[in-house]
């Protein structure tokens, strides 16, 4: 793949920030004429998306994440606030004024949105035709892109002859055709089965790592975030309720929504029903502790053992994300009250500890 050619018509200012949301709000007016009501889809969002990262946006359906991503390339106009792409203000622009900035932003969709009247090669070639590439250059570029997504053999097929994963790979090739700096992926794997999801995520990861393209990834699946996102924003009711590095959100989710997303893929903390069951079978003190690199829980437990404190692992899970391990373990501690209390105190000192009420 070739590197992006020459300076585009869009200024590439704003340092390492590719997309900057400043207090961005988007409201829709919906309903029949007599019962018009205003819905706030995106509510005072401020975010920075940095060059070269994969930025995940997660939320339940209706949280406003699809609207958020559509504001970036102006498919939906911003109601208030400032939104810049490489320093170019997108808010308040007409459809015609948005054309140059859109050519620097690729987009892929949940339903792929391939042109059914064109072949695989025709779909990939389409944006090049519109950008006025000469025929020979177009042909070479299409071949290169299809090679990149592993679909060279399918050039002459029509979209309906492809599987979902293949369709999305065509979508990716088409979105990358004119060398964009930024790729918007709107629920790009939500219509796919788990195996094909992995296949598409791997292509996206290569887009990011080999071509250096910044990706904004909208999803409702925490697995997708865990697989490839560097940073993540959690959205709820149009607001970004939490954002940070993926590792941080997984290790220390601060909001209930984030916790629910994390527990959807990491079942390391017992839920209320499981706690009830644990209580029935374990009579000692039950504590839930966070596990991570450099947290010497084994040492504390060994010290406790020398004073007659026994422990049983009742529940838990540890996983590794971007070379950091994290998770949590639920212990039952039995022994002399004072010695058990010392172990609990020591654990609280080195990590986060929650006690399960008796």
């Amino acid at each position: 793949m070739t590197a992006p050619v020459g300076p585009g018509p869009v200024p590439s200012g704003d340092g390492d920030v590719v997309v900057r949301f400043q207090d961005v709000t988007k409201t829709f007016v919906t309903g029949p004429a007599r019962a018009r009501r205003e819905v706030t889809a995106v509510d005072s969002v401020s975010l920075e998306i940095r060059r070269g990262e994969i930025f995940g946006v997660i939320g339940y359906s209706g949280a406003g994440k699809s609207t958020l991503v559509r504001l970036i390339n102006g498919l939906e106009p911003v109601t208030s606030g400032s939104l810049t792409v490489q320093g170019f203000e997108v808010a308040g622009r007409s459809e015609t004024e948005l054309a140059p900035v859109r050519r620097e932003i690729g987009m892929i969709f949940q339903q792929f949105n391939l042109f059914t009247s064109r072949t695989v090669a025709g779909n990939v070639e389409y944006p090049l035709k519109r950008a006025g590439w000469p025929k020979e250059k177009r042909r070479a570029r299409v071949a290169e892109l299809l090679e990149f997504v592993g679909l060279s053999a399918r050039a002459g097929n029509y979209p309906e002859q492809l599987s979902g994963g293949q369709k999305q790979r065509v979508g990716i090739a088409r979105a990358l055709a004119t060398n964009p700096k930024l790729l918007l992926a709107d629920e790009s794997t939500s219509a796919l089965d788990p195996e094909t999801t992995q296949e598409v995520l791997q292509v996206l990861q290569r887009v990011n790592q080999e071509l250096g393209i910044t990706i904004v990834l909208i999803t409702h699946e925490m697995d997708v975030v865990r697989a490839i996102a560097d940073r993540v924003a959690v959205m709820q009711d149009g607001k970004v309720v939490e954002h940070g590095s993926t590792v941080d959100i997984f290790a220390r989710p601060r909001t209930e929504t984030a916790r629910r997303f994390v527990s959807s893929v990491l079942h390391s903390v017992p839920d209320a029903r499981e706690v009830e069951r644990l209580r029935r079978t374990h009579r000692g003190r039950l504590v839930i502790v966070d596990v991570g690199d450099g947290v010497d829980i084994g040492g504390v437990l060994s010290d406790g053992a020398s004073r007659g404190v026994r422990f049983t692992i009742a529940y838990g899970g540890i996983s590794v994300l971007q070379e950091q391990s994290f998770g949590s373990l639920t212990f039952e501690l039995t022994g002399a009250d004072a010695a058990v209390q010392d172990v609990v105190d020591e654990l609280s000192r080195i990590t986060t500890l929650r006690e399960v009420a008796a």
């Binding site: 390339n73 498919l75 459809e95 015609t96 948005l98 054309a99 140059p100 900035v101 859109r102 050519r103 932003i105 690729g106 987009m107 969709f109 339903q111 949105n113 391939l114 042109f115 059914t116 009247s117 064109r118 389409y126 944006p127 035709k129 519109r130 029509y158 309906e160 088409r174 004119t178 918007l184």
Partner: protein
């Protein structure tokens, strides 16, 4: 008994006149109706050139003309036809009235077929920075081509039907042949001969249209 050595060439000439009127009307009404239909579609709420005033105005004109029976439209348009074509009689006068009558039907057919285009592909093209004019010509129309061909096939049959009535203003054609030489002389054989030719013509057009649409839709 009918003398087909005389009637035969007359029938052939009538067929020629019908083909002339139908094809010219098809081109004129096809193009004008396409423009009006695209106009109706793109100005709809939420579409790429949303414009309520233009949409409602187009809608009103289409809804005003469409319910008028063609034979009445033919008579009512008389003065306008005379201004535009120079005469109220003959095939060219008929073509004018047929074009007016057919283009509004085409507008609706086009609008409805375009509505079947997945808004997602339009959004994809917008996301690439393609202009709205280009989106119409390179995305919306190609994506709807299969149903459009079927719509236009349906239209040819409608125009053939109209052209039969044009005999009433001396436009000639198969309708005129059937009425003048068949119906009015109580000569069923001649009437049915004209009907048979029309049926064959319509069948041919339908088969061709179906084949073309199937090819485009790859089914």
């Amino acid at each position: 008994m009918n003398d087909w050595s005389v009637l035969g060439p007359e029938l052939l000439a009538a067929l020629g006149e019908t083909l002339y009127m139908v094809s010219v009307t098809l081109i004129l009404a096809g193009v004008l109706g396409l423009l009006a239909g695209v106009g109706l579609y793109v100005t709809r709420r939420g579409n790429i050139l949303e414009n309520r005033a233009v949409h409602e105005a187009l809608n009103l004109v289409v809804n005003f003309v469409r319910p008028i029976p063609f034979i009445i439209l033919l008579a009512a348009l008389g003065p306008v036809t005379e201004d535009v074509v120079g005469t109220r009689l003959g095939p060219n006068a008929a073509i004018f009235a047929m074009t007016i009558g057919a283009m509004f039907a085409v507008a609706r057919i086009v609008e409805q077929n375009l509505m079947s285009v997945d808004p997602g592909v339009v959004e994809a093209a917008r996301s690439m920075g393609v202009s709205r004019g280009r989106i119409i010509t390179t995305v919306i129309l190609p994506e709807a081509l299969g149903p459009l061909v079927l719509g236009y096939t349906f239209l040819v049959i409608g125009i053939t039907d109209m052209s039969a009535m044009a005999g009433a203003i001396g436009a000639g054609g198969l309708g005129d042949f059937a009425l003048r030489l068949g119906y009015q002389r109580f000569n069923d054989e001649v009437t049915w001969a004209a009907v048979a030719v029309i049926v064959v013509l319509v069948q041919l057009v339908q088969v061709l249209g179906n084949r073309l649409a199937r090819r485009i839709l790859r089914r």
